[in-house]
Subunit: 426 residues, 2 copies
């Protein structure tokens, strides 16, 4: 007799043994008081400060967004009622796709129920529609992009992270007649570093490759209208596909791609993960439209985020905390050990009422375990000072090395070529 | 030079040539007046009646559901703000998973952002965790289940639709020591027929296989508390995994699985499509909880749906329309030709203000193209009579054969073994 249950139990035990078993914190966010949330644990409910949210600009509590959401739910209902093809296409969703195409200066857009699905379905479908396509993929690409590449069944070349020379070598070596797709991100969310987009576009043009960029950690936050790093750098028009999310800076749910009319129409028509899925509810689409429109016109949230991120980096560095270098709003603080990283997170929550998830392997390479802190415009200087003190107390109590205890430059980005499957975001 | 654009354009042209190009109707549903919606087309907006919604019970406009959704959005915000692991687990979602486990009498539940992802991620993860697993899959399984099977990388045997003898032959022929997973649906949504669940469980027990059932077209609608066909037939406890959706009868968005604590924990811990996806917003989770709780206690919606479905079948049959046999609330009417099916749908919309999507290959086998009608408790007898007359006018105007024009039994289920990839729901 096969004991099925034992297989699932031993899979779980393996995670415990590696200190990688994840416990989800039961949170209840409080509109008007972000980043405060109610944390429920063992019958107790306690107010804590969230320091690792992907609601990067606090738009998830913006009055205009909530008003659009509740008004639309009240007038059009809670769900879409069908797939896009079978009665599920709703008017706010049609408007949302227009808004997104405009945001990135593209002809068309297509909305999915998640960023994961948008990458998986779009990359696989685009590559499959190109005969014998070769994919060039950054080694630190997100799990959803890796799944898309895998699902395409196409041959892939992985290039070293943001390494233009390596990418060029690989492009140069490939058959010039063969279709090529370069797949990469603008902001890599675990390190907070940025891709050299213009230079990647140069290479793509030189070797006649298509480009697909994931801007999920940048849309809403960079560029004059929130069009992402590609808008900030003035290169959006050079990219074939810009993918983004509605679930982070825009504060709602869902993912999307933008591109030429024909490309979008082809993905719309051929991707099973799009075709056979219930459409986004009209209330969420309307909330997303309100959020995107607000951020197209308002710079205050972006300025506030950058200011508070810089403030946090400066405060932590001054307190000798090992802040890892980051070009963006993401502030990683190095721990360097899975068990200590989990202990630090637990102590911050239990002793200091501060919630920051530990980031361990396989999300980041072993030895670079870290706390990933995301200051928003709503994290005041006082909250930053409180966090700094809590981190110092925790580092001291647990014996985690401070910056001056570490070999010079250890908090710099590590060599990641040993990382088999680079995965970020979970 | 490779002309990338031309590849996408020719992919679209191929669909036009086969009359399979899909145009999404831009709809705006109206709370309090379902199944009426506003249809926008070429600058015009017109009221139409939706007859193909998967909001099967009209719960998408239920006051209690809308109240839960708007109250929660107002107090907790528009989005979840993170993945389940990184700050995205919200209290209504924790409650929703408890509610779903209770609905199916299982130890635990796990919520995904769509039913498609729940099948794809769960089937592939469960099968991968079992060493050298063999999968037995009904030939009419939904696209999302086929993707899950494919993604698992496991060897699969496809058994003829609902064919117990064929399933037994395949189980018997397999190595008794090898883990086995039988994957099937309760209600097949294009024909509306039902699987012999108890008999499949008998076989699974005899040959020591696990069972995974998709109840997306049954939850909320069958069983005393809306637990689906498995509840109605008293066999829920014999199934290892019951998968369902929040986006059809429950009127919201998302999918889920229920099962043993260890199995759910393993999928939670190992499925990339779950781990790396932003959590369902608290407002949607709260709306789903309200809907499930209502349908656990109220039989009125289920009775109304069955009554109106029976009424529609009787009226159509009396009018000599080729109603295909169906054991459920789904009422398929046979056209038998892709072009005529599209024309019928267009004529119903343009002449009669009635919206029913054409269902063509590959969703159903060629030669069985149909209109798939889903009466809800909100489709009154008067609306059914109006639809009957509109169908008769359309059948006459387009020269589509009536039941008496067809060879005896043609509207019965066709041989589907020729269908390479059975896909339903899009």
């Amino acid at each position: 007799m096969i004991d099925y249950q034992s297989h699932f139990e031993s899979a779980i035990e393996a995670l415990h043994a590696e200190k990688r078993y994840r416990v989800f914190a039961d949170l209840e966010r409080i509109v008007g008081r972000f980043p405060t949330a109610l944390w429920r644990n063992e019958g107790e409910a306690r107010e804590i400060t969230v320091w690792c949210s992907n609601d990067y600009l606090g738009m998830g509590q913006h009055p205009g967004v909530l008003d659009a959401m509740t008004r639309t739910a009240t007038s059009m209902g809670s769900g879409a009622g069908g797939t896009r093809n079978i009665s599920g296409t709703n008017h706010p969703l049609v408007e949302l796709e227009r808004e997104l195409a405009d945001l990135h200066g593209k002809e068309a857009a297509l909305v999915f129920t998640s960023g994961f699905v948008s990458n998986e379905a779009s990359i696989s479908t685009i590559a499959k529609l190109l005969p014998d396509c070769l994919i060039f993929s950054d080694e630190l690409n997100h799990a959803s992009m890796i799944e898309g590449v895998r699902k395409s069944g196409c041959r892939k070349h992985v290039f070293r992270h943001n390494d233009l020379q390596h990418l060029e070598e690989l492009l140069k070596a490939a058959d010039p007649e063969r279709p090529k797709l370069v797949v990469f991100e603008s902001v890599y969310s675990m390190d907070g570093d940025i891709a050299p987009i213009a230079e990647i576009c140069d290479l793509a043009e030189r070797y006649n490759a298509m480009t697909y960029i994931d801007e999920v950690h940048a849309v809403g936050m960079y560029g004059h209208r929130g069009g992402g790093i590609s808008e900030r750098d003035g290169v959006a028009h050079r990219l074939d596909v810009i993918e983004g999310t509605l679930a982070k800076a825009f504060g709602v749910l869902g993912g999307y791609i933008t591109g030429s009319r024909a490309l979008i129409d082809a993905v719309r028509s051929y991707a099973p993960g799009f075709i056979f899925t219930t459409a986004l509810p009209p209330a969420l689409a309307a909330a997303a439209v309100a959020s995107i429109r607000h951020l197209k016109g308002s710079q205050a949230e972006r300025d506030g985020q950058q200011r508070q991120a810089a403030q946090a980096k400066a405060e932590f560095a001054a307190a000798d905390l090992p802040v890892m270098p980051s070009d963006t709003h993401i502030v990683p603080v190095l721990v360097g050990d899975a068990d200590l990283c989990k202990q630090a997170s637990d102590r911050l929550l239990k002793v200091h009422d501060i919630y920051i998830q530990p980031i361990n392997y396989p999300t980041v390479p072993r030895g670079t375990e870290r706390l990933r802190i995301t200051p928003t415009p709503l994290h005041s200087d006082a909250l930053i000072a409180t966090l700094r003190d809590a981190l110092v107390e925790t580092w001291t109590a647990l014996g985690i090395p401070f910056a001056s205890d570490r070999p010079e430059g250890e908090e710099r980005r590590e060599d990641v070529t040993s990382l088999v499957v680079a995965q970020a975001g979970g």
